[in-house]
């Protein structure tokens, strides 16, 4: 409200006062009307009754007068006592009727007229009685004179009666006119009540609209606004106390809601931050668990890796020594006795490193169709040497070649954790076997890990976080709990039990999946994008960007085998300069280099040499980097994984040049 605001007052009191006032007014008018109506009815009834009664009185009076006159006119019977008695009886009746009239409400004029009737009647009777007596006494002349006088009085009496009745008729006519007036008044009163009711209803409707409808509409609109989240809305305190209280309460509620909302948003943000932090912590924890497992494997892996390296080194030194012999080996001997064993050992090392790299990749959390056996092979490849060194056996048998719903990295970690758990359980004894088997069932695949270790002291709790039976420092206690959690994420399950003949059994159930597209969305494998090696175009101009000199030289030598014109750069900046000066057909670049990375070089090419975008290959040993992994997943044909084999390398180059 604007302007000077009236002091709130009680709506209930206003309604009460209005209702009472209107009701009292209505009742007063109604009572007045009823009273007028009652009076009119009483008047009508009284008038009717009076009229009827007076009619009777008048009839009796006239009849009695007539009787008396008829009797008195019978001169022959003047000596008859019966006639005289009849005359007196009629006279008494006339007298009684006149008396009845006299006790009624009469106007002074009517009363005077009636008195004249009475007087004339008295005189009539006197003269008549005298006539009777004189006739009886034989005074005929006197009797006749009295009779004549009687006739005169009779006429006077008749005139008086007529005059009186005429006055009464006029009075009744006036009464009738008054009744008509009263009827008009009543009609006007009814009309007045109707108008009052109508006006009252109009005012009541207007009042209800102004004093109830508007505040309620405003409150409703405000409630809707709040429902839409607009907590800045406020209602104006209406004029009436009740709605003012409601409005104040509503505004206070809105204030509280706004405060609560701000507090809630603040707390929600805190929770979001805490959740993000928790997720980060959890991710880090998971990563830590993985790194912990990786770290514990690392010594064995290093030892395992040393073996092929030692072979390569040994064969290399032996070959070098043989060239100093008086009889150097022939090329066939070199190839058969030295180069082929070195390539084989290097391939073994390469496989080990590849397994480790694939295991070490970060998970993107996406569940897709993953080849079960391939994931298990990576884990087995990483751990079988450790089992062998510890006097344990790791046997994979009867595993169906099937795809399951899983995240590849997490599935590898599941297998790794289960395998490591069995390894840790059996290692103290220096003997034992972990048997991995599985079978496909209706829509699912079950994989069992059965060891011959001491079994699980409390199989129900092995999946609880931080539950461990290992000594402090030997485990995080998260390994099997992550197994359980990841399996639930795959919509699968993990169960732990002890085998009847000893040892533990971990049962993993996956949902079977139908293999999807070419690479199932997985990061590029060693075969990804490698097509048949076509004949590379002779004289192709190829830029090799590699910070490692041996690898740069190796690639120069490899590319020389396809008669390519080779430009070498040790950094991306140098490559940019070459690209600005030279026209090349293909760029083969390392990813991680001092200074600008291979990806930055690629982005430069996109901007400055878009013609080379489709002829740009990456050679990298690191697909763990998220950016590289994402790029490699999107365009796997651009990547040649280190360490690479000559055929693979040349095939990828030839494909790019084709």
């Amino acid at each position: 409200m604007s302007g000077v605001r009236k002091a709130p007052r009680s709506l209930r009191r206003t309604v009460l006062i209005g209702t009472v006032t209107f009701t009292v007014l209505l009742v007063m008018v109604f009572v007045g009307l009823v009273r007028v109506s009652s009076t009119m009815r009483a008047d009508l009834s009284g008038a009717t009754s009076s009229f009827t009664e007076e009619q009777r009185i008048a009839d009796r009076l006239l009849r009695a007068v007539t009787r008396q006159l008829v009797t008195a006119s019978n001169f022959a019977g003047y000596q008859d006592d019966a006639l005289i008695a009849e005359f007196r009886s009629a006279g008494d009746e006339v007298y009684a009727e006149i008396r009845r009239y006299l006790f009624r409400d009469l106007t002074p004029a009517q009363r005077m007229e009636l008195e004249r009737v009475k007087e004339q009647h008295q005189r009539l009777e006197v003269t008549a009685s005298q006539a009777f007596e004189l006739f009886a006494a034989g005074r005929t002349e006197e009797a006749t004179a009295s009779a004549d006088a009687m006739v005169g009085h009779a006429i006077e009496l008749q005139n008086a009666v007529d005059a009186f009745l005429l006055l009464r008729e006029e009075d009744l006519s006036r009464l009738s006119a008054r009744q008509a007036d009263t009827l008009e008044y009543i009609s006007a009163g009814v009309g007045l009540i109707a108008v009052l009711l109508l006006v009252g209803l109009v005012f009541a409707a207007r009042f209800l609209h102004r004093r109830f409808g508007r505040p309620i509409d405003e409150l409703t609109a405000a409630a809707h606004a709040i429902g839409r989240g607009d907590l800045a809305v406020r209602v104006h305190a209406p004029y009436d106390d009740e709605f003012a209280q409601v409005g104040d309460a509503f505004n206070r509620m809105t204030d509280s809601l706004a405060t609560a909302k701000a507090s809630l948003e603040d707390r929600n943000q805190q929770l979001v931050d805490a959740l993000d932090e928790l997720k980060a912590t959890q991710t880090e924890l998971i990563r830590s668990e993985k790194m912990s497992a990786t770290g514990r494997m690392m010594a064995g892996l290093a030892h395992e890796l040393n073996n092929p390296l030692a072979s390569v080194l040994g064969y290399g030194e032996l070959l070098s020594a043989r060239f100093d012999d008086p009889e150097p080996p022939t090329l066939t001997e070199v190839r058969h006795d030295f180069v082929q064993p070195m390539v084989a050992e290097a391939g073994r090392a390469r496989g080990l490193v590849n397994n480790l790299l694939r295991f070490s990749r970060r998970s993107d959390g996406d569940v897709s169709a993953i080849p079960l056996k391939e994931a298990l092979d990576i884990v087995v490849g990483l751990r079988e040497y450790a089992f062998e060194q510890a006097g344990l056996r790791l046997i994979v048998a009867d595993l169906p070649d099937i795809h399951v719903h899983a995240d590849e990295q997490r599935m590898q970690q599941v297998f790794m954790n289960v395998v490591n758990n069995a390894f840790d359980a059996m290692q103290p004894a220096g003997r034992g076997t972990l048997r991995v088997s599985g079978e496909a069932r209706d829509g699912s695949v079950v994989v069992w890990f059965e060891d011959t270790g001491p079994g699980l002291p409390d199989a129900e709790r092995v999946f609880e976080p931080f539950y461990t039976t290992k000594a402090v420092g030997e485990g995080t206690g998260l390994g099997l709990s992550l197994v359980h959690r990841f399996m639930e994420g795959f919509r699968g399950s993990a169960r732990a039990s002890n085998r009847p003949d000893g040892g533990a059994r971990i049962e993993l159930t996956f949902s079977a999946a139908r293999p999807a597209g070419r690479d199932n969305g997985r990061p590029p494998t060693r075969d990804a994008g490698v097509g048949p090696a076509g004949a590379p175009r002779a004289g192709a101009r190829i830029l090799v960007v590699e910070d490692e000199a041996p690898l740069r030289d190796l690639q120069r030598r490899l590319l020389a085998r396809i008669d390519a014109e080779i430009f070498l750069a040790s950094a991306s900046e140098e490559a940019v300069r070459l690209l600005e000066d030279q026209d090349v057909d293909l760029v083969v670049s390392d990813v991680k280099m001092p200074g600008g990375s291979g990806l930055e070089l690629f982005h430069w090419v996109e901007r400055n040499r878009p013609d080379l975008v489709d002829r740009f290959l990456f050679v990298t040993g690191d697909v763990g980097d998220p950016e590289i992994a994402s790029f490699a997943e999107a365009e796997p044909h651009r990547f040649v994984r280190k360490p690479f084999q000559m055929a693979e390398y040349l095939a990828r180059v030839s494909a790019a040049l084709a």
Binding site: Q122, E125, S129, R139
Partner: protein, 354 residues
């Protein structure tokens, strides 16, 4: 003739409050008695202002009675009226007083029908039945088997008293030889014919149920024709003021006294007091008027200020209150507003002398 005159509007010392008004519509003696009562009341310490509106109305005709009644009820503050002077006038005026809610206290209206006049109509005497019985007993005792000429005034009083006497008269106690009415303001022919009717019947006694005023019109002719035949009548035959009987014309007239002024010391003192005040003797009606005014003033003393309150006050006498002790004896009223009173027969002539 009817005489309407406003004699006095006697006001007490104005005390700043509206005075109570009591109307007087009566003959001269009752009016004087009422005024005397008012004066006595004031002298005895009446501290309520009381005015009177006086209408002299001594005859039986309707017009003066109606006019007087209309004038009285139109007077502001009127709560009661003392009157009228006879049954006919009282009955004529009664509807006007009842309609106006003004108490009508008739001094000596004895007509039977007055009992039905209305709730505001009271009277100081019983209805005619009582004096009818008294007259009948008197006739039966004094004139048994004698020839009786009956003449009555043909109005409410005469007709009612005739009926009362005939009702009370034992069968064959007397022999009614003529029964003729007469009328007020009778013409000479009418007087002559009535006289002839009575004298032709050769009566031993004349039962004159009328008023002394009318008898005065007939008596000389009747005495000429029937000699000293005694006359018997009701209270209407009480000799009027200034009554004189020098030639014995009015001897042997028997009538009913409403009040025997010689019977009580109070009435005797009243007579002396009245005589001192007005120089003439009061009659029965005057004594009744004195008591009537006194009882009305007593009501005013006790707080009566309206006609309805006065009506209730009068009815309470002898019931919620003790009877009012007037000069004529204890006074109370029955449901019809009639007072109880013992009548006596009196006579003129050698015994009464007036």
């Amino acid at each position: 003739m009817w005489t309407t005159a406003l004699l006095a509007a006697l006001a007490l010392a104005a005390c700043g409050s509206e005075p109570v008004v009591i109307g007087i519509a009566n003959g001269t003696l009752p009016t004087q008695a009422a005024i005397l009562a008012l004066e006595d009341g004031r002298a005895s310490g009446l501290d309520v202002p009381v005015d009177t509106v006086v209408m002299l109305a001594a005859n039986t005709l309707a017009a003066p009675a109606v006019s007087a009644a209309e004038a009285i009820v139109a007077t502001p503050g009127v709560i009661a009226v003392l009157g009228h002077s006879n049954s006919a006038a009282s009955l004529t005026a009664a509807p006007i007083y009842n309609q106006a809610g003004v108490v009508q206290l008739a001094t000596h209206s004895t007509a039977e029908i007055y009992s039905q006049a209305g709730p505001y109509s009271f009277r100081m005497v019983p209805p005619d039945g009582q004096q009818g019985r008294l007259i009948a007993e008197f006739l039966a005792a004094e004139f048994a088997g004698r020839r009786v000429a009956l003449s009555y005034i043909n109005d409410d009083y005469g007709r009612g008293l005739r009926a009362a006497v005939l009702d009370a008269l034992p069968e064959d106690a007397v022999h009614i030889v003529v029964d003729v009415p007469h009328i007020e303001r009778a013409t000479p022919d009418m007087v002559r014919r009535t006289t002839l009717s009575i004298s032709d019947a050769d009566p031993d006694v004349v039962l004159w149920l009328s008023r002394a005023l009318q008898l005065a019109d007939y008596l000389p002719a009747l005495r000429d024709r029937i000699g000293g035949v005694p006359f018997v009548g009701g209270d209407g035959m009480i000799p009027v003021d200034g009554f004189a009987n020098p030639d014995g014309l009015w001897n042997d007239i028997f009538f009913v006294r409403l009040v025997d002024l010689d019977a009580r010391a109070e009435t005797r003192r009243f007579r002396e007091h009245f005589r001192e005040r007005f120089g003439t003797d009061p009659d029965d009606a005057a004594a009744l008027a004195y008591d009537a005014m006194t009882v009305l003033l007593q009501g005013v003393r006790e707080g009566v200020r309206s006609g309805d309150a006065m009506r209730r006050y009068l009815l309470s006498l002898g019931r919620d209150r003790p009877p009012f002790m007037g000069i004529t004896g204890p006074l109370s009223f029955d449901d019809e507003g009639d007072a109880a009173r013992d009548y006596v027969m009196a006579t003129t002539g050698p015994r009464g002398g007036r």
